[in-house]
Symmetry: C2
Subunit: 429 residues, 2 copies
């Protein structure tokens, strides 16, 4: 990568920190310490420019918020309690991506990716000159390799659905994967356009409706990038990663939203872990045939309402008159939360574009809320793979019927009579 | 519950929202709209007072931040994009706790619990008068019941380690649990004391080192409660919950910090899911004998450093000269993150006190970082249960040796020769 822009030296930040507290910053017309410019969507990373969001560069920060999402609070606590020095800069020796991913043409379209930094894993490489000039530029994406092993895959091998190949899937059930962790990086003009609102409305809403988080959202309209303190996502890739972005490569994919109760503990009220395990099975199959499998795991617990709200809704569903039934499934969430869902799949396809995906051959999801944004964003979907009926726990029938009636991909939509039946267990059973 | 304090009517908030943006609030000496007082640790909830953190009560908010932790950002997005009305108040019909928990004497000690609201699940009951007077008071804790089913428990039954009893553990592997979701609620003076710093240092650190989140942390010293936008925790209880808080009740407990890669996907670089599954097995055993099993699941991914940092560290460990070995295990994290760990177990025992626990008969953890704060907080630990050797994946030996050498509970501490051996797989294997 070459860059033709001049890189200003790091502003002189070595003077002692001011004793007074600065409540919020404002764009400066006179201060010579200007943030590095960001040209979102520029094909050349030198022109795109780095995201500078650490607190080491107060004058040169070009983003609202800071790194590590919600974990920035823990770092603040570490510094406040004297366990971490505020001026610590990470030693990134040996941390570079374990597999090369991209660049892909989608990275050069400012509307295709608005909620992550496509260059986030390559910062040490593509912003080497800025780093050498003293700028503190940190990765927002990390790529590593791992072996995973899930009991459900053993069962798939025993049942003959999966056959170990000694590489992607070993005889002991070990599966080789490439894993990618992604921190949210929002380009505010693009996020606003996704939600069909003005950037000003977005900024004011984010500030006021969080109880006053980050006044810079409204005082710094010149800062176009925001690192929100929310959970990010993890991508698990199966097969030869270098085949991503090639037209002939078949892609199997499940986009999965976190559900701790099922994903970890195997709660039987929903189909989350069974469907995830099925998605991984399909990904392994596709990888064994020379394609790439993609599992996207989004930290959006309880439809991004959080687990307290989720459990309140469970109680309301189980206790309502006439029992837990599909016809009132969404209503109970709406009574408590005001909406049926807060996951905002509008931003979800970004990660698929980042992976260079233009076509998904097998989408392991029945959700119309996921399918529609994927297709609208320009990615073709060839086949939709429903969850095998045998994997649906008895108590999860209510959810499945309700979702099918609401537009979930299915061959048989349940009728009104069906939806009225109480199928869920009572709260005390 | 009775209360002797007068409850002021809700301040008149019905005037239209101001057009101008209020960047931060300041304590008012003249405004009659005073927040309800909070007397943290008061035994009578009427005297303790409710946490008012919704944006429906701008004049009467008595906490910094708002509900739902990091998910408050999603709610803000829902409102900004017109999908949720800002004035929505939850309809909490039928959402009350599925099991009664507390009150316990520990709730009346302002130093025992500082990072959650002990009355958070009982708001509709104990703050009924305030709610009737128009105050928008929301639960920060939710209690429900569920059935869980994990493949590891089937294996335990097959191996004869667990015997189904038809109630707690059914023949099909279903386990009955009571689940509790908890949103963080920090009482700032108490949190500061836990970290042995002043409240002012804590507030300033949290504000400045997050990149300027919530100026009210510094402008509103009168607001002593903060709802940080971080992940909370989930508690899984096994056995008869009404036995909590009784001296004769035996308690088995594992405090588990989230590790998505292992907990969900079964990555073999650590012992997280195997140890969690073993903890659940011990909890079921204890519940079958008339005790109570307690699993606390904390949302503190990657030692609260987040997953991007975690994966960067994995790469550095696997690529270092002489391979991945125990003697440099902690060093690699410290190079990248500046600390070895950011989980702050100082706050962790709060949930145990909330459950009325004064003695843990079987603590399913070898971690000294968990053991010491539990014991220092006044909870006796009778037995520490190590992970059975057969459950440690081969690639996780590095971690296990490093932790044993650093003070992990074990019968045999590895020597320097042992710690030098490269035991972890290389990055490309």
């Amino acid at each position: 990568m070459t860059t033709t822009t001049d890189i200003p030296n790091i502003p002189n930040e070595k003077k002692p920190a001011p004793k007074s507290i600065v409540l919020t910053s404002h764009p400066s017309k006179t201060d010579s310490r200007k943030p590095l410019p960001i040209d979102w969507g520029a094909a050349d990373p030198g022109l795109r420019g780095p995201i500078v969001a650490t607190l080491q560069n107060p004058g040169g920060k070009n983003a609202v918020g800071t790194h590590s999402g919600a974990y920035s609070l823990y770092r603040a606590l570490a510094i406040a309690s004297g366990q971490l020095k505020a001026e610590h800069k990470p030693d990134l020796t040996n941390t570079a991506p374990a597999e090369r991913i991209g660049p892909f043409p989608q990275w050069a379209d400012p509307e295709k990716i608005v909620s992550m930094d496509p260059w986030g894993h390559m910062t040490s490489e593509v912003f080497a000159r800025q780093i050498a000039a003293g700028w503190d530029i940190r990765p927002t994406v990390a790529v590593t390799k791992a072996h995973i092993n899930m009991p459900e895959l053993h069962q798939a091998v025993q049942a003959g659905r999966l056959v170990p190949d000694g590489d992607i899937l070993a005889a002991n059930g070990d599966v080789k994967v490439t894993k990618v962790a992604v921190e949210p990086v929002w380009w505010l003009p693009g996020v606003a356009r996704r939600f069909k609102i003005s950037e000003t409305e977005l900024r004011r809403g984010l500030f006021e409706q969080t109880g006053g988080m980050f006044p810079e959202l409204v005082t710094r309209p010149d800062l176009k990038v925001f690192l929100p303190p929310i959970g990010g996502m993890t991508v698990y890739l199966f097969g030869d990663v270098s085949r991503l972005g090639k037209k002939e490569t078949r892609i199997a994919c499940r986009v999965h939203d976190e559900c701790n109760g099922s994903d970890v503990f195997g709660s039987d009220i929903c189909t989350c872990r069974p469907y995830l395990a099925h998605g991984i099975e399909v990904c392994i199959e596709e990888a064994q045939k020379g394609g790439v499998g993609v599992i996207v795991y989004n930290r959006k617990e309880g439809r991004a309402l959080g687990e307290v709200t989720k459990f309140l809704v469970y109680n309301a569903r189980k206790r309502q008159e006439a029992g837990d039934r599909a016809e009132t499934y969404f209503q109970r969430t709406e009574c408590v939360a005001g909406v049926q869902d807060m996951r905002f799949q509008e931003l979800m396809p970004d990660i698929l574009h980042w992976l260079g995906i233009a076509r998904i051959d097998r989408l392991v999801s029945m959700s119309n809320m996921k399918y529609e944004p994927i297709v609208s964003s320009g990615i073709a979907v060839v086949e939709r793979v429903p969850i095998p009926d045998a994997l649906i726990p008895a108590d999860a029938r209510v959810e499945m019927d309700a979702k099918k009636a609401a537009g979930y991909f299915t061959e048989k939509v349940p009728d009104a009579e069906e939806l009225k039946q109480a199928k869920g267990r009572g709260l005390t059973e």
